[in-house]
């Protein structure tokens, strides 16, 4: 019987693994977790970035579309797996990655961009934020600080640990962290759920914060499956964040979310309730969505919203003030692909958010595999008010500017 055979194999594997490394057998990859029996042979799969980058001259840049009066151009290329962006006081742009181990610095010298590898040998350093002369980096398991790094790009200071022990179980999924500095001087970061749809531990599926002075950690928002982008509203100072919904519930369910934290400790539903109104088929039994905070805006299923920034610059037209720019990495767990763009969130007189297209053209064939030639990850407002957009699939950073008429 195949069951017996599988059981025997499992036993053997357990024994062999235990003897080798004293650890349990590896679970299915986190992206496969939660599939039902019919989905086991699904051709849907996540896309891997070109880890060695691709030259912008080889890409169909003419497909990129921005609203009238705006212009999009390649700002820098050759930045392998460019993920999160942070702006130094002196204009250096720091760029992170997730599957590599480096942090890059891009320095603008009279319009020529020089890319330096400033930090090496890190563990999934996806989160970067710059504040008052210090670069903070969120790795898989710790947050570190590099004081005065912008004056020492060729001989960066040694890492000082702000907090460590952030990944005690070496979690298989959602181990990469976004990092941002709050208006309260505390560092905010996500601890994702360890799989697609699993019961998280007490500190997983949260947005947490740490005081860099004391190292004290607090949970700020709960029930957040994984957020890889947040920012504070310039007036209300409330934290807005993007969140990826679970996979394998179908092409159109559930929606990814834009959320706002109004009170510390609010619970946003995972793993019980998705998109504010849809109970999970397994974890939602005997629960009610009314227990949880619903999203401020539904973003569409599987669109994978990542970095967001409120726009406060002077370059774009006045109606862009206070809008959110949001990078959407694009869907994989959907037969017809969507996302792969930068969208603009506007607010009406009652503060109700609404999505509008902003930068499109990466998605070229929604039925193809792969369907896109580029994937936005983060957005960054520059001092002149222009907007940088990172693309980890190609290792490219684009710049969107507005020419006044």
């Amino acid at each position: 019987m195949s069951f017996c055979k599988a059981l025997a194999a499992a036993f053997l594997a357990m024994f062999a693994t235990a003897a080798l490394a004293q650890q349990a057998p590896s679970a299915p990859p986190s992206w496969q977790q939660g599939r039902d029996a019919q989905q086991a042979s699904s051709p849907l799969h996540p896309f891997a970035p070109h880890m060695t980058g691709r030259a912008s001259k080889d890409l169909p840049l003419d497909k990129l579309k921005v609203p009238a009066g705006f212009k999009v151009e390649v700002w820098a290329d050759g930045i392998a797996e460019a993920r999160s962006l942070a702006l130094g006081d002196k204009g250096t742009v720091f760029v992170s990655n997730r599957l590599a181990k480096d942090v890059y610095a891009v320095v603008d010298r009279n319009g020529q961009r020089e890319v330096k590898t400033v930090l090496k040998g890190l563990n999934a350093p996806n989160g970067v934020v710059f504040n008052k002369g210090t670069l903070y980096v969120a790795e898989r398991d710790r947050i570190t600080r590099y004081d005065g790094i912008e004056d020492n790009l060729d001989s960066p200071p040694a890492a000082k640990v702000v907090v460590d022990g952030l990944d005690p179980q070496n979690q298989p999924g959602h181990f990469w962290k976004f990092l941002a500095m709050g208006p309260d001087g505390k560092l905010y970061y996500n601890v994702g759920a360890p799989g697609n749809i699993v019961m998280p531990s007490y500190f997983q599926a949260t947005i947490s914060r740490v005081d860099p002075k004391s190292g004290v950690v607090e949970t700020y928002a709960q029930g957040v499956r994984n957020s890889v982008g947040f920012d504070w509203h310039p007036q209300t100072k409330q934290l807005w964040f993007t969140e990826h919904g679970r996979d394998w519930l179908g092409d159109d369910s559930p929606s990814d979310e834009l959320n706002v934290v109004k009170t510390k400790g609010q619970h946003f539903g995972y793993p019980y309730c998705h998109q504010g109104d849809t109970l999970d088929p397994e974890f939602g039994k005997h629960r009610s969505c009314s227990e949880f905070t619903p999203p401020a805006l539904k973003l569409g299923a599987h669109v994978a919203p990542l970095g967001i920034r409120f726009y406060t610059g002077k370059m774009f037209p006045a109606e862009y003030q206070g809008n959110i720019f949001m990078a959407r990495h694009g869907s994989w767990n959907r037969t017809t692909k969507q996302g792969y763009d930068v969208v603009r969130v506007t607010f009406d007189a009652d503060g109700k958010p609404k999505l509008q297209p902003f930068l499109e053209g990466f998605l070229t064939d929604e039925k193809a595999d792969p369907p896109m030639w580029g994937r936005p990850v983060d957005v960054l407002q520059m001092k002149d008010g222009s907007l940088l957009v990172s693309d980890d699939y190609n290792g490219i950073i684009y710049r969107v500017s507005y020419a006044k008429k």
Partner: protein
């Protein structure tokens, strides 16, 4: 035979390649031929063919060697000196070469059992229905038997770099016998 040089001694081969890579080279694919065969069609059982592999699958493995995620006494020092651009050029070159028909002949009983196992253990889900690879996932069809066998065993022993954990997970339930049947089957498949 060109290949016997590398086969004879890894040290000699590595030394020769160190010498070659020591020169400031613009990633000349001919230098890879010593071990990977003419146009990337390997004639050495332990070394993989690169000809006709998906472009991204080649560049990502070179990246893994350079970053130390995947280790090999011969490939590690070679990749250490390659820039991203050179890796892309090599990947582009080899992906465009025609993969030669395999010399391996699948045993008749494994030609029948292999496809079932490839389905059962989800090989086809990522490597494709004809196991010819896609994007960052390598072609298995017609690849060198010894190379494939060694890699699958390393994945199972959790001793080979795995970008996303998929292969470590996929090999977990495989028995030694499953591995032998699967490799005998895929090594004999037509690469195109």
């Amino acid at each position: 035979m060109n290949g016997s040089f590398c086969n004879a001694g890894a040290a000699a081969c590595a030394a020769a390649l160190c010498l070659l890579t020591g020169i400031a080279l613009a990633a000349d694919p001919q230098l890879c031929a010593a071990c990977h065969g003419p146009e990337g069609n390997s004639v050495i059982p332990a070394n993989p063919s690169l000809a006709g592999q998906p472009e991204q699958s080649i560049s990502i493995q070179l990246f893994q060697f350079r970053e130390g995620n995947r280790k090999d006494p011969q490939m590690t020092p070679i990749a250490a000196n390659l820039s991203n651009k050179e890796m892309n050029e090599l990947a582009a070159y080899f992906s465009k070469q025609k993969a030669a028909a395999p010399s391996h002949k699948t045993a008749p009983e494994n030609a029948a059992a292999g496809p079932k196992l490839a389905q059962q253990f989800n090989c086809v889900q990522c490597h494709g229905p004809a196991l010819r690879g896609q994007q960052h996932i390598p072609r298995l069809a017609g690849q060198q038997y010894d190379y494939l066998l060694a890699q699958l065993r390393k994945f199972k022993a959790q001793k080979r770099a795995d970008l996303d954990g998929n292969m470590t997970s996929a090999t977990e339930p495989l028995t030694d016998k499953d591995i032998e049947i699967l490799i005998d089957y895929v090594a004999g498949l037509s690469p195109q």
